[in-house]
Each structure stands twice: as structure tokens, then as C-alpha cells.
Symmetry: C2
């Protein structure tokens, strides 16, 4: 292993040179007197082509796909080769032989035919497929873009605790645990903590797991997911929060564009434009439009998934936008810390962002005056001593503030048009699954 090894992505820089690569046997086939081998490493794939005898070291060890190998070969440009370059006169060394057949062959045809439980059960293998791991590369870039943009905007990253005592946001759907003999819970969101941190840094963000004991199985819910959380102070209202969301989404998509050219190509995916101003309608307007189009009642206190889909199509049609901000949801459907609209009775200073017709983000302005918050908590039946630390932050001065949370897996799933959020999640957790 002492030889200098290059990555598949570095091959184009070494035309005419004899180089060493390491990785996995992604595919191997003989065509007449020739043997083709596609090597996959952590970054890409490259084809090697040689005499049929070149693959004898593999055959002798009965080494099939996923065998870990070292290849020495000369780099040539060949427009007929995938990626435009290949290795010739290859010399293979088996590092770790794999004799057993794979549970799912790592090509698109086999993957497309495989059933979802098979893909999930064998995730440690399946994620190796270039079209699968591209999803995770985009996910990583989305996180990087989220953080990078917020750092530019003067935000500080925090890591808040996931084991919490007392009530979390709402009492329902929490996982309980035995914490040294006392009851505790897994945080459903960092909501209360990120608000507390507005008192410290004004502008904070967090990337971390959240836990929801959702008892129903849907294609867009998980029991554990990664939440991209933002909260910031000295805001005017929830529209300022939505503008920050736009900035963040633009940063996320541009980072994906910069870092993931190859992943996007592998997936034949294109990124949606993030317009300078996201199309924005009020909840009342949304309901009126739905009613007029015969898509739903004029009065309701929420939007059904089918209604969100219709609104998404409307935004696409009228604004050429994959995004639609719906503001002013009824207070009755929002958590206790939500700031009411100062002008529209019953409405909140909150919003949802629909992305391609599915809710992706919830955000808004929060209550910031201690007395208002205490009254709201009481009204929601929350025991004040269970949120003592939270209330302390407000007792000692909290500016007007707001924020939002983006579900990472949902973002990636909708961005890439995956049919189930489980396909956009590394090792998904749901009512039936806590492994692998």
C-alpha cells in the first residue's frame, strides 16, 4: 500500500502516465479477448481494459464484484470510454476478495427492480451504488451550504441537548427513556433551545437529529431525521424570517451545484432556481384559490397534502417557481410560542414553505415578551416549571425573533424527486425499523 495512489477523479490529470488506483470492483465483463473492469473508489468510477488474462488474479481468488483491489495501468483518453478516460495494460492485485454474490447488484436496473425493504435491509451495500450514494453527496453539500450561508450571515452554530426533561414542544409523539431512574425524553426539535440561544448570540443555527414517535407510516415521515434549524433576533416580522430562508435555500442549492456536479449528472437531476423573492400568498388567499378551483373548502384551518400539491402546481404555473411561501396560518394550528398576527385576528405571524407542492419548512415569528409567553403556555396547558429554563431566557430580555426548520431528508427527497423519504435517508427509522 506504500505506492502513491490517485483517486478516480484525478485520472484526467495523468494522461500517458502509469498510475495506481484502489477501490472496489464495480463491474467486470469479458468481451472476446478483452476484459473490462470498472473500478469504483470513494469519489467516482473509471474503466480499465486489458487482455482477458489481465483479470486472472481475480479469477484465481474467485473474487467477484465488490472485491477490494489495486490497479496499476496507463491512462489514455478515449472518447468511447465512460468519462472519456480509461486505464490500459492494467495489472490487478486483490486486496480483499469477495466471493459471495451481492444481495442486490449495484446497477440501476437491479436497483430499480428491487423492493423497498430489500434496499433498506441492505443499505450498507446499496448505498455503494453511484446513483444511490449521489443522494448522500447532495445531502452533505446541502448541510455545508446551509452552514456556510449562515456563517456568512453572522450566525453561530450550537449543539443543543437531545435528552430533555419536562415537556418538549408538544406532549404527543415523544420517545421516553429511563434517565438514571428519572423520566426523560428525546427532543422533538431544538425549538426551545434555539430560542434561548437568541439571548446569547442573536443568530444561531443547528444541524442535528430530532425524534418523533410518529405512529403512522407515510412516504414522507420518519421517526428520526436531521433538522436544519435557524433562529434569529431583532426581526421585523415573519416575512423577514422567510427572506432569510430564501437566502439559505439559495446558498444550499448553489453549494450543491458547486460541489456535486458529478452526483447531479449521475442522477440526471437539475436544481430548481431560487428566485430573488419567493412567491408568497396568505393562508386566506390560498384557501380562496383552492375554493375557486374546486380543490377544497374556503374555510379550513390547515392545508391538506392534495391542496399543497395543487398550490405547488399553481406556483409553478404562475411564477415558474418550485417554491411557495404561505403565510398567516391560523393560530389554532400553531404551537404555543407562535406570535399572532398584529392585524389579522386568529392568524399567526408564521409561514410554511411548500417545495414542489409539499411542505418542506415551517417558520415564523415567536412570542418574545415574558408575560405573553407565560399566558400562551398556560393556555396550552403546559406546566410552567417544565419549561423553567426556557422561560428564564425570556424573563431576562428577549428581542423580537423568529426562525425556521428544514428537514434535511425531506429537502433531498423532494429535490431529487425520490418517491419515498426512506430513499433519501441514510438508515431510516420508522415504526417498523430501527436497523441497520
Amino acid at each position: 500500500m506504500n505506492e502513491q495512489r490517485i483517486r478516480t477523479t484525478q485520472v484526467p490529470n495523468h494522461i500517458g502516465e502509469t498510475v495506481t488506483l484502489r477501490g472496489w470492483v464495480h463491474a467486470i465483463r469479458r468481451v472476446g479477448k478483452l476484459a473490462f473492469l470498472v473500478l469504483r473508489d470513494g469519489w467516482g468510477t473509471v474503466q480499465a481494459v486489458g487482455k482477458a488474462t489481465s483479470v486472472e488474479p481475480l479469477e484465481q481468488q474467485r473474487a467477484g464484484p465488490e472485491t477490494v483491489v489495486s490497479i496499476r495501468g496507463r491512462v489514455v483518453a478515449n472518447t468511447a470510454a465512460p468519462g472519456g478516460f480509461e486505464l490500459v495494460e492494467p495489472c490487478y492485485e486483490v486486496l480483499v476478495p469477495v466471493e459471495e454474490g451481492l444481495p442486490v447488484a449495484l446497477n440501476d436496473k437491479s436497483l430499480a427492480k428491487a423492493k423497498l425493504p430489500t434496499l433498506l435491509d441492505h443499505a450498507p451495500t446499496v448505498w455503494r451504488a453511484p446513483t444511490r450514494r449521489a443522494v448522500l453527496q447532495i445531502s452533505a453539500a446541502a448541510m455545508a451550504g446551509f452552514r456556510g450561508t449562515l456563517h456568512q450571515e453572522g450566525f453561530t452554530e450550537v449543539q443543543t441537548p437531545k435528552i430533555v426533561s419536562g415537556a418538549t414542544e408538544s406532549g404527543a409523539n415523544v420517545f421516553g427513556l429511563d434517565y438514571f431512574g428519572e423520566p426523560a425524553f428525546l427532543a422533538q426539535s431544538p425549538q426551545l433551545y434555539k430560542q434561548m440561544m437568541v439571548g446569547v448570540f442573536e443568530r444561531v443555527f443547528e444541524v442535528g437529529p430530532v425524534f418523533r414517535a410518529e405512529p403512522h407510516a407515510t412516504v414522507r415521515h420518519l421517526a428520526e431525521y436531521v433538522s436544519l434549524d435557524v433562529e434569529f433576533g431583532f426581526i421585523e416580522d415573519h416575512l423577514e424570517v422567510a427572506r432569510m430562508l430564501r437566502t439559505v435555500l439559495a446558498g444550499m442549492t448553489s453549494t450543491i451545484e458547486q460541489r456535486c456536479a458529478s452526483a447531479l449528472r449521475v442522477l440526471s437531476a437539475s436544481l430548481p432556481e431560487v428566485p430573488e423573492a419567493l412567491p408568497t400568498i396568505s393562508f386566506g388567499q390560498a384557501r380562496a384559490m383552492l375554493a375557486e378551483a374546486g380543490q377544497g373548502p374556503a374555510q379550513a384551518n390547515d392545508l391538506a397534502p392534495s391542496e399543497e400539491r395543487w398550490l405547488g402546481q399553481w406556483a409553478e404555473r404562475e411564477h415558474e417557481s418550485a417554491w411557495l411561501v404561505v403565510t398567516g396560518y391560523p393560530m389554532s394550528k400553531r404551537p404555543f410560542y407562535t406570535h399572532p398576527s398584529p392585524s389579522d385576528a386568529g392568524a399567526s405571524n408564521s409561514f410554511d414553505l411548500l417545495f414542489r407542492g409539499t411542505e418542506l419548512v415551517t417558520g415564523g415569528q415567536r412570542l418574545h415578551r415574558y408575560a405573553d409567553l407565560v399566558a400562551a403556555a398556560r393556555g396550552a396547558g403546559i406546566a410552567l416549571d417544565s419549561i423553567e429554563g426556557y422561560l428564564e431566557a425570556f424573563r431576562y430580555g428577549m428581542p423580537p425573533h423568529g426562525g425556521f426548520a428544514i428537514g434535511l431528508e425531506r429537502f433531498v427527497t423532494q429535490l431529487l424527486g425520490l418517491e419515498n423519504i426512506r430513499l433519501g435517508t441514510l438508515f431510516p427509522r420508522d415504526t417498523n425499523r430501527a436497523a441497520p
Copy 2:
């Protein structure tokens, strides 16, 4: 709130101009006919000085420290002012008055006198103090430096699940939970998952919470902490892993240096050099040195905290290094997936990094051959079906690999010489504490 607001850190760019700032009343005092007010915002502090009457708007509302205010004033350079600039002719507006006295005054003298439980109980307030929040700023920069360096080195960020079924690394000290009627656990580390991901990306890292039901209270253990995890493939041995650790530590400290000049100044902290090669000794050498110095027995299968302290002093003295790598710990003290030394019977290809005489990092090479791993798991009494997904990654080809994990809070605590890890942790969790 419509007026353009500048941050305290932008004040030096506006000499002679009348500007608006917003933030919290950090301190206020009258000296004769003058009133001084220190404003704190999310990034720093600035002093305003005016006639005694200037603070009347605050007095009329009985608004004390932590009151949220807006200030308009003219920027002047004044070498006598803290930071070299101040606001004159200030005009204050109270945005959110705070009438109640603070649980702990946010100055260094009061904070130094306060007992630890007081500081922790009132963390939402206490973190506002400049000398406290500087710790979190450094923590955020440490994470950014960790990620930035690894991105440069070709690593991909992953987020692995925190709810796991079956065994984790070791059966002891795990938090159990009821997962939809089935038993599950909180991950003690992402160890098994990050190894699985070597099969996908070769080089992966993760920043996320880990959970340890440590039944004992010490100044350096927590029940939940942030783990900075790295794992990568195609390595030669554990020394290559230690070299990557050095690169990462250098990236972390240089990012702290770049981003946290003001936080370091507030804390009077200086960063340790990270030498080109970290001083490295074998476990056997360490024991022999300890025995020779009368600090411990020549034979033992671990290092006691007092022995680590002595070794740390030795590295400081002999190598002028805050860091010391100790390699080749006995296999008997290492987890089942540890790769044995090929040359030294009973020793492992693993290491600990001591930082200022305390263990900060554990790392090493892992077993990569399926048969070896199965035998090791069996030897450790681990049910193979409980690690089925993990084993699958090895059944289908895993290269030689290794990695390490840095405890974020411990890194920050030792870097800044804090006396208890709880002072380097946002909202610490221990046997007695799951709030705030």
C-alpha cells in the same frame, strides 16, 4: 425597527457617523454628571457615554441589566474606551424592559464567585456573559475547522442514526428506550456506522451527539456529548490515522485562530502549537518511563489519569508539545473491532492522544476482513445477528481502515483550561441533570 442597524463589531467602520445599534444593556453606571452604558449584541460590546439624563428612558421603565434596547449615537475613537471606540450623545429606546434582578450578574467577578450548580441552573442567562459565550464561539469554530479540514481531505459528511437496535459498541452504559413497543438504544457512538460508510465513501466524518449512561460523576464525563468522528479507508496502519488526526487538529486550531480572535482575547487564552509531527511513544515506552520515574508500575493494561498527567508534562518538557500520542494499547482494553499489532503480541494498532495530560482522542486501525471481525465479535460475546448490517459491509469488501473520535466539549475544556467539562458544555447532561 426599520432603521438600518449596525453590529457592535462594525462600529470602528463608522467613525464620525451617527449609527443605530440594538442589543442588551450589559452594564450601566453613573459617574457624576455622566452615564455609561455598555451595550452587548450577538457579536460584542460597545460603550456609550452621555449626560446622566440620557438614561432616563431606562429609569422611567425601571429597566435594568439585560433590558433590550436600541441606541442611536455618534461613533468616536477614544483610546480610553474599551475597544478604542465609543458612542457619544446616545439616545436610548427601550424595546423590552427587564425589571427583575439577574440570578447571577454577568461580570467576571460574580461569575467566578458563583457555585457550579448556580451557573448550570441559570445557563440560559449565564451564557450571555462575554467570557462565557466566548467558550461557545470557540466550540463553533472548532466544529467548522474540523469539517473544513476534512472536506479538503476528500471526506464526506454523514449523519448516522442515534436510535439503534441490537448491541452498540459495548452493552454497558447504554440508555434504553421503548421504540414502538420494541427495545432500542441511544447510540454510544457512530463507530459501527462510520465504518460501514467507509465502504461507500472511503472517507467519512460526522459531528453529532452520543449518549453514555455513565453512572459516575467526574469533572470530565457527560451523559451526552458531541462527538467529532472520522473514519477512512486504504490506510497503512494506525500511525496514518494519527497523522490525519494531526492534520485535523491543526485545522481546528487554525480556524479558531482565524474566527475567534476576540473570544480568545476575552478569555486571555492562547492556542497550542500543533507540531508537524506529534510526539509519539508506545504504550510499553510510556509504562517504562512511568516506572522509571516512580510514577506507576511497569506492567499495567491502561494508563491512570495521574499517569496521563505525568506523561503530558513529560511531552511539554521534552518536546514542548501539548500533545502526546501513545500507541499500541493492549488489545485486552480495546473494543472487539480493534486491529491487533502485526508485530507486537497482545498490543493493538490503536492509540490515544493525550492533550495537556488528559485523554482527548481514541483512535486506531480496525479489523477489515469479514472472518476476523466475526471471530472477534464472537470472542467478545456479541450476538452476530445484532450487528448484521455492520457485518454485511464487511462481507462485501472492506479495505484496511481506521479512524478516531474527538469529544468536542473535552477539546474545548482542555484547550481553555476550564476546571470542569460542564463549563465547556452548552446544557450539560449528567446523572443529576437533564435540564435546562
